[in-house]
Symmetry: C2
């Protein structure tokens, strides 16, 4: 690689709002999206909420001359809704499905049926290894009383861990997607602190687009103005995040968003705004260390956000245990009722009423049993994330106490006591 | 690191058969396992089927002086059953839960409820980065008519992908666990071909233990002789697999298994045999390239096993689609019946019979609906694995066609056509 190596990367990210039968003007918007992507010829287009595989196949066919490589990430019952179109050859593909993703009985929210995930593409560009991630986290339906908060924090943690563990040999890491998190939300801070990713909107010197970089704006005719009432300029929940891991330096030259309408015609491409970033990757100047060292100074906010996430997961676990216990008791009561009903039927006393009661009682036992099992699994998932957080917290605290000279590789025989023993 | 660097690593792996209330002499066996691990003082003890968290906590307390670091991998409803005890500090921990893991209605097999997973520990030993993985794949209940074959192949692929993507900066990779796969089974070959892992039993020059390295032997009093009838010496389904990724060379100095009984007392520690390996890691001699290059010669068996796995997943997908379609039709018939029953109740004709039929009809709709959703999810999971396999297959074929000079990093602009476009 030449010492004056420089790579320009043009990236597009959009939550396409492509729900069959429900999203307005879907076919027209998908068509216009295809035209736009073909015209702009980005290096990578990372899309979310392409729920219909037919839409993906349509785009794949339409975009194949400009973006010869494409992938649709399948998961859950409906799918992850994630797909990607690339101008360059995709070396490797994998994905991770989030352990926790809402509740199956919240059918009208539907997130549980989607199998929300993070997709990973490994690209080799001029000898540089680029790990590009695309994701979509659980939606936030009520900011004041968010029953999915613990799940979203656990998802943010799993996302951060997946990036952390799969990008160790990458030169550049790129994450695009709809995080359903405001910039100062716990999940967003956790993700950024643990991975060292930078926010294109905050880093770029050349931003053009909606006010405060918002990606859901009241000007968009598909957005419910009522929902955005507490946020007059809109909300910023879609992101382009990046970092250079080694030897390289990455910067965001320009960042654009759409502003509630199609860049060319009038109607918007989606209820979200699209993000278009031009990134520049160069060799790291000697004085600059591009990769985050998690030195003593950087560790303090990491420790603080880890603690906060730990507390949130703890609350979520308590809630999950409460529901599991409640459902367990209801199952028990249902079983007792069932025994009683069977006894009444056998005894011949109030036979007709007993037969009428039999079906609802069996329904109660099965329903409550399923809820019990679901919340047991939820508690296990939250406990797993909390244990991993606890371990990282322990190591970060150790490193802070011992100071920078102890970093980064402890010697054989150095022991961490019961720090690794999660509760 | 000194040029004459050498590291000896003593590893223990055992499927502990620790099912509360069901496994015989569980408390006694766990106690003896603790005593044995304390006495032997391995570097790492990787355990499977520790289903009770109380057993883990008991072992943790008992082993803490010898193995100060420990972790229990939580997942699913019951748990993954995986845990680890380490003499050395654990730097990082994470896990991946397999997307497919049997069927919830196969309650008596129970695998679905466990949340089978792979756990990863990152250890830094004398400046060397060791990624140690522990796993347990879906059991094989009927070798002649294995309804879980596609799931196990998908699990082997997910395991291989997880190792592939998370071990890129590791110096040494170690995988221990109960794969529920015979050495020549498709899943085992797929795993070894894609990760480049070596089998300690096949590599070591000093093996002591059961005939042919079997880990379930008829001499073990907990093993059903009837189940092992087709295999007089037993079966080998537990493994210690390893590789050195870079700069290093790893070899298995000795491998021992228990032989159907406790090494010290008479009764066995489990229904599986324990594996005890002494591995030696040294700097790679200049003529030896420790990491697999997947050169043209190595690619041929990889392509062949990828093709075989692709076919198996395809069959699994067809089966899943068949079940989903069948359950879909049953749901439809159930809904029609429900309408009929409601009409009868409203009409007042044969009211009593209609009321009696109402509950089973609702049950049919809900049950068949759940089966439909489950098999839709199964098909998506298999399709995802098949798409990843297809991509790897395409790239392996490309590399074989182009010859070794095209490896390893293609230049910017090199395109793969529709190779990345999974069906």
């Amino acid at each position: 690689m030449k010492p004056n190596f420089s790579l320009r990367l043009r990236v597009f990210s959009l939550n396409c709002w492509g729900i069959p039968y429900l999203s307005k003007h879907r076919a027209d918007r998908v068509k216009r999206l295809g035209d736009f992507l073909n015209m702009e010829s980005f290096d990578l287009a990372l899309l979310q909420e392409v729920w219909s595989e037919q839409d993906f196949q349509y785009l794949r066919q339409k975009l194949s001359p400009t973006y010869p490589a494409a992938h649709y990430f399948r998961s859950g019952i409906i799918g992850s809704g994630l797909c990607v179109f690339s101008k360059h050859s995709i070396q490797e593909i994998t994905q991770h499905i989030y352990t926790l993703n809402g509740y199956p009985y919240m059918i009208y929210h539907g997130d549980w049926f989607c199998g929300k995930a993070v997709g990973l593409l490994v690209l080799h560009l001029s000898g540089l290894v680029l790990n590009a991630y695309v994701t979509h986290l659980h939606a936030e339906y009520n900011r004041q009383k968010d029953i999915y908060l613990a799940h979203r924090v656990a998802q943010a943690w799993e996302l951060a861990q997946f990036i952390h563990h799969t990008s160790k040999k990458a030169d550049v890491v790129l994450l695009c997607g709809d995080l359903n998190l405001h910039p100062k939300d716990l999940g967003c801070r956790l993700l950024k602190e643990w991975t060292g990713l930078h926010d294109a909107y905050l880093e770029t010197r050349d931003f053009k687009g909606s006010e405060e970089g918002c990606t859901m704006v009241p000007e968009n005719c598909y957005v419910s103005r009522q929902e955005l009432e507490p946020f007059p300029s809109g909300i910023r929940i879609d992101y382009v995040l990046y970092k250079a891991v080694s030897r390289f330096y990455i910067s965001c030259k320009t960042l654009k968003t759409t502003i509630g309408r199609d860049p060319h015609s009038g109607t918007p491409l989606s209820d979200h705004e699209a993000l278009m970033a031009t990134l520049c990757v160069r060799h790291s100047p000697p004085q600059q260390d591009a990769s985050p060292t998690h030195g003593a100074a950087e560790r303090s906010p990491l420790i603080s956000v880890l603690r906060e996430a730990w507390t949130e997961l703890d609350l979520g676990m308590a809630q999950a245990h409460w529901w599991a216990t409640f459902a367990g008791y209801v199952t028990g009561v249902g079983l007792l009722l069932l025994v009683l009903v069977c006894a009444l039927v056998a005894g011949g006393g109030v036979r007709e009423i007993a037969i009428m009661l039999w079906a609802p009682t069996v329904g109660l036992v099965l329903g409550a049993g399923a809820v019990y099992l679901f919340h047991m699994q939820e508690a296990k998932g939250l406990c797993r994330a909390r244990a991993e957080l606890h371990h990282v917290l322990g190591r970060a605290r150790d490193a802070q106490d011992l100071g920078p000279e102890s970093q980064p590789v402890p010697l054989l025989g150095q022991q961490e006591g019961d720090r690794a023993e999660e509760q």
